[in-house]
Symmetry: C2
Subunit: 159 residues, 2 copies
């Protein structure tokens, strides 16, 4: 019995492995549970799809926000994305190490730094964005294109 089951589970592949059917119980009433499940799928797919460029979701967000708002402070970007100070500092350190982002001391406040993409960063972003688009297409495929649009409309206000 045991062996047959484990062979069957393997044959189905990791993503589609059907768990033993357990009841959700009252989890069924919690939107947060379903949000979290889909969000985990999304992050896993994003990380796998962007593995060739080794870019994770938070790094991607920071790159796009710097691109859209060049010269803004670390504090402003952290606040906007809800990334805490120490974590953002590590993340930016890594993006600087890869020569994608540069920090310049701001004229008005010596402790504050303005963030910019470097030329290398802009070049890298072309490839990164094309992989992120592929991820988004995979997500639309997973939830269905119609539902993808509906979810966008319902969630867009909560940024």
């Amino acid at each position: 019995m045991k062996r047959r089951k484990s062979v069957a589970a393997k044959a189905k592949g990791r993503r589609n492995a059907a768990p033993e059917k357990l009841a959700l119980g009252q989890l069924n009433r919690h939107l947060g549970y379903f949000l979290r499940r889909l969000q985990i799928w999304v992050f896993q797919d994003f990380i796998q799809t962007l593995a060739p460029v080794k870019v994770r979701p938070a790094q991607y967000s920071v790159l796009l926000v710097i691109e859209a708002n060049p010269g803004r402070s670390q504090a402003a970007i952290g606040q906007m994305l809800g990334i805490e100070r120490a974590r953002l500092a590590r993340l930016l350190h890594e993006l600087e190490r890869r020569k994608w982002v540069s920090r310049r001391a701001s004229g008005t406040d010596g402790r504050s730094h303005s963030l910019y993409l470097t030329e290398d960063g802009e070049k890298a972003l072309v490839k990164i964005k094309s992989l992120a688009e592929r991820h988004e297409a995979q997500l639309a495929d997973y939830v269905g294109p119609k539902r993808h649009g509906q979810l966008m409309d319902l969630l867009r206000d909560f940024r």
Copy 2:
């Protein structure tokens, strides 16, 4: 200048602090970004609302799934909830320490354990569920009751 700003920021309260208006850029096209933002709000609200009983979202999920499926194995529950083995072991250890969950060696497989709520666990769950309901009401209030229902309908398939 600096002082005035930080006083103003404090006066607004943490949750409603209006970030400097930055553009989202192409993040605007990514459902995952919006999913993540709302999911973070949900988890923060859940953790705050359930602070009196010190129960976090993953612990709550595990309690509800054990309640709905008494006697199932750690492996089955971990697989269903997508919690990896080591993390689930730590989480169950904590729930046993609080005397809410008991593990019994399964008859058929010495290495496997069947999970049950204890009487204390069932009692604690009454209070825990009532706080979780309050959290859910707050979430419905945050997104609007109509949108709460629509999101449920759209996300329920992805468990």
